[in-house]
């Protein structure tokens, strides 16, 4: 049987995996499946708010010889379609490493270590930015680039999350995303958008 693939979102202190199948994966200001609670806020003038960062991975089961080269990309329109005001620094940002895979190791056996870090912040108001020098993500905050505007990760320039290879059922390394919301961001409900995960399977 060919592969079965699922996207998971990790929550909680231990990074428990929840399938996003049939759900809308929202950005919010709490570290659990929010439903419609604790939506992201537009900050007052002079401040910048963030969503709680989300940590997502892909899980693949089934019969295959090898899976490798897992990339993510988007259509490049998150900031414009969500009114995040990229011109003033707003947008959707993804954690990046200076070298190697950009994905976050989340499993000692599969990835050699577990670098998952629970998202934090002030529930209902703001999360911590991935690149914050004190409260940022430990795996990314001390890198040179730290974060990349996800709108730059397009089909012809996708972000390498996990080069693998995997020869049996696995969870990939994770990608870490966070919204940066500036005071000039537009207020209101947003239309869902897609994140696309590509993998090479043999």
């Amino acid at each position: 049987m060919a592969e079965v693939a699922t996207i998971y979102r990790l929550y909680g202190a231990g990074g428990t995996k929840y399938s996003l199948a049939g759900k809308t994966g929202r950005f919010c200001t709490q570290d659990s499946d929010p439903g419609l609670n604790n939506p992201c806020k537009v900050p007052p003038t002079g401040e910048v708010y963030y969503s709680y960062r989300v940590t997502d991975c892909i899980g693949i089961t089934g019969d295959f010889n090898q899976v490798r080269d897992i990339y993510i990309h988007c259509d490049g329109n998150f900031a414009s379609e969500w009114g995040l005001d990229a011109g003033n620094g707003g947008g959707l940002f993804v954690g990046v490493r200076d070298a190697g895979d950009h994905g976050l190791p989340i499993d000692v056996v599969l990835h050699g270590s577990n670098q998952y870090a629970q998202a934090g912040g002030t529930p209902g108001t703001t999360g911590h930015s991935i690149d914050d020098s004190s409260n940022g993500h430990p795996y990314y905050k001390d890198e040179t680039e730290k974060v990349r505007n996800f709108d730059l990760c397009l089909a012809n320039s996708p972000l390498l999350i996990d080069s693998g290879p995997y020869t049996d059922d696995f969870y990939s390394k994770a990608w870490v995303l966070s919204l940066k919301i500036v005071p000039t961001a537009t207020y209101g409900a947003k239309t869902p958008k897609s994140v696309i995960v590509t993998y090479n399977i043999f």
């Binding site: 537009v42 537009t186 897609s194 590509t198 043999f202």
Partner: protein, 228 residues
């Protein structure tokens, strides 16, 4: 959970003339990496209805198709690389709670059974087809105001709000009964028959490299007509 849908299968032809198809006659499958020996030719053939049923009996997903057969020659000694890619997409879609149809996110009415969300008045004990809709806008400072938006533009309320002067955003909708409005204004209850969710779908394509030539073979069902 998503599985790839196969609409065409590959067949590797070895130099001795023997063949290795992706799917055997009983529907069991081979992966692209199962055979690493010399190849003389590779074919891509549409899945027949009979084979599709046999593939499904093994837990895979297949659809019969009339995709054009493709044939590639591999010259002796030429470099040959062949693998499959999966592209997992999470896309917003609408779904119907009655018939289970999944359809375009922007469409509010089920195209199969015509179900849609309805407004119910408890006093009239009836569904109201033309409710009085007030769109409530709010600012980050929690200031609110009510505007009227014509029904067929209601789904764009959030976008209309963004284009108003000031920092207005869509907050909520208040629906009232047009019958009760004259004497005893009443709010309406939303009866949800359709919903929004994210579909999870794997699109498959093959990357084929023969010598210096590289081919991408899609296994998609195109929803629009290909121009001649």
């Amino acid at each position: 959970m998503a599985q790839p849908t196969f609409r065409r299968q590959w067949v590797l032809i070895r130099p001795d003339g023997t063949a290795m198809p992706q799917f055997e006659d009983d529907g069991s499958d081979h992966q692209t990496g199962d055979y690493e020996g010399p190849v003389a030719q590779i074919l891509f053939l549409p899945i027949s209805p009979e084979l599709a049923e046999k593939i499904k009996s093994h837990g895979d997903v297949a659809e019969a198709s009339n995709l054009k057969p493709l044939e590639f020659e591999v010259p002796p000694g030429a470099e040959f690389k062949f693998s499959r890619f999966g592209m997992l997409r999470l896309d917003p879609v609408s779904y119907c709670g009655f018939c289970g149809a999944v359809y375009d996110y922007e469409v509010d009415e089920c195209p199969r059974c015509l179900a849609k969300n309805q407004w119910y008045c408890g006093k009239c004990d009836a569904l109201q087809k033309k409710p009085i809709l007030d769109t409530i806008l709010a600012t980050p400072e929690k200031e609110q105001k009510i505007i009227k938006i014509v029904p067929h533009l209601q789904k764009w309320a959030w976008r209309i709000a963004e284009n108003l002067p000031g920092k207005w955003g869509f907050y909520s909708i208040q629906a009232r009964c047009p019958e009760c409005e004259k004497t005893d204004p009443r709010g309406l209850k939303l009866v949800e028959c359709t919903g929004k969710m994210q579909s999870e779908e794997i699109f498959t394509y093959y990357d084929l490299q023969i010598g210096s030539e590289r081919h991408r073979i899609l296994d998609y069902k195109l929803n629009k007509t290909i121009a001649d």
